[in-house]
Amino acid sequence: MSTLLHIDTISKRFRGLVAVDRVSCEVAQGEIFAVIGPNGAGKTTLFNMIAGALSPNEGAITFAGERIDALRPDEVCRRGIARTFQIVRPFPALTVEENVLVGALLRNSDVARATATAQDVLRRLDLFDKRTQVAKSLTLPDRKRLEVARALATSPRLLLLDEVMAGLRPTETDRMVAILRELNAAGLTILLIEHVMRAVMALANRVLVLHHGAPIALGKPADVTRDPAVVESYLGAEAL
């Protein structure tokens, strides 16, 4: 499998605090790659560096063979990386369809054709029936799916998901897992940050574990969760 995203020893410091400490990893075309770790492990900082919201102090991020670590968020998105936000940020006064249409218009300036793309994405995310509602009237699970739908409408090659399962009930988590599996089966590469282990175990091909900004394990989910260092720092000693 070819490498789509290559993260090469990147670090990010906020004054004295090292939020991300020399992290390296490669995400292959077509895989689902998860980043886990306790609160404050640097997951979201890593995520924001990939998405262009922050730039690393050291290291390089290469996407599809091009350096992207000095680009703005909108440029990163145009290269083919779409993201969601941990705390969902829909366009509240716009309808569900208009929210997704904004994403679809990136690749297609014709409103009628972009609307067709948006509706297609809405069907895949089970939001088609709610397309005329304004986004602020949606429930949290629907908003989470809207967040994914909007990112997906930009036709990304890599989808970055920041805790899309957080706050979902188990049945809703399963529904989201099924949707993401389907998208992945259609060829989409996914990088996700997740706390909900049920989802990570069900989805990820490989898992990177961060602790205090540094990588402590990388491998298949089943292997990683047996790693003593991971159990100690993240899953909790009682899991032994």
Binding site: L94, E98, L101, V102, L106, A112, T154
Partner: protein, 333 residues
């Protein structure tokens, strides 16, 4: 294009639009000169409100200094007419780029250096004040003593030079207002309109979707500035006198934004309905207070303010969204 612009408009809406259009076209033939000047004022505020709405209502950028674009348009066209005999329509070709350049400077300074929200609003006020004081000292355009266009008693209307009677000005501003409405309507149904809404709602989320927010905010400021300058040219030829203290004054900027706020920010009909309600309210107030003998100074302003307060409290989204619900003109799902 036409099909796209007319999509989703119900038969009921068409009927109302047609009736409104007929009423507006016929109005001067039933109005006396006093009423005609009121109608011109309403349309003028509807037009400028529409232009301001592009920045605030569509792209979410609050400008409190739009008088600068009116003033630049007015002074540019007036100077070309007085000094070189160049008529207003050619003058527009200079006035619009001048205002757009000014908008580009303000926009660049703000958006490049992250001046946003109320600080952006203050920057727009600062530029307008700067222009007000600056024009006081430009003797080429009369300085603080005012700049005057030649006036005569016109027997016939000269549309090319905009010299004539109020009825001509009525139809000119009516045409401009309709054109501005159609232009904004087209903007809202195109990519730029959706990108503006996204920026207005959540700029960071908009950037995450690949929108170059700097570029689209610049576009909003420049389009709004250029449109407002057209109103400035009209202003110069309609009133025939320009004083920096009046044209660039902050009260002019405020007057200009009241109609879209009262009518409904970000809506297409808001500026027009707001202008109609505000102007007729103000004029009726004058008449009523006079009739009841409340002629002490400031009485009108107090009543006017109370009325505005009631509208804002009762209809925080503006008058138009309420009227739309009442007339059952909501777009069908």
């Amino acid at each position: 294009m036409i099909a796209r612009l007319t999509a989703n408009v119900s038969a009921r809406s068409w009927a109302l639009i047609a009736a409104l259009l007929v009423a507006l076209l016929a109005a001067p033939h039933f109005a006396n000169d006093y009423l005609l000047t009121i109608l011109i004022l309403i349309l003028y505020l509807a037009y400028t409100g529409q232009a301001w709405n592009i920045m605030m209502g569509f792209a979410g950028q609050l400008s409190l200094g739009h008088a600068i674009y009116v003033g630049l348009g007015a002074y540019t066209a007036a100077a070309l007419y007085v000094h070189f005999g160049i008529g207003p329509w050619i003058g527009l070709l200079v006035a619009i780029p001048v205002a757009m350049a000014c908008g580009a400077i303000i926009g660049f300074l703000a958006f490049r250096f992250g001046v946003a929200g109320v600080y952006f609003a203050i920057l727009t006020i600062a530029f307008a004040e700067f222009a007000r004081i600056g024009f006081d000292h430009i003797s080429y355009t009369g300085g603080s003593g005012g700049f005057f266009l030649p006036v005569a008693q016109y027997t016939q209307n000269d549309l090319w030079n905009l010299r004539g009677r109020p009825i001509m000005f009525y139809y000119v501003i009516l045409a401009l207002t309709i054109a501005a409405f159609l232009f904004c309507h087209a903007l809202l149904r195109s990519r730029i309109g959706y990108f503006w809404f996204a920026i207005r709602e959540d700029e960071q989320a908009a950037r995450a979707l690949g929108i170059d927010t700097f570029r689209y905010k610049m576009a909003a400021v420049m389009i709004s500035a250029g449109m407002t300058a057209v109103a400035g040219v009209f202003f110069a030829f309609y009133y025939n006198n320009l004083f920096p203290e009046q044209v660039f004054h902050i009260s002019r900027s405020i007057e200009l934004i009241l109609a879209p706020i009262i009518g409904g920010i970000g809506t297409l009909f808001g500026p027009a309905i707001g202008a109609f309600v505000l102007t007729s309210l103000s004029e009726t107030m004058t008449e009523l207070l006079h009739a009841f003998g409340f002629d002490f100074p400031g009485a009108k302003q107090v009543f006017y303010g109370v009325c505005l307060l009631i509208v804002v409290v009762a209809l925080p989204d503006g008058i138009w969204p309420w009227v739309k619900r009442r007339l059952r003109l909501e777009r069908r799902a």
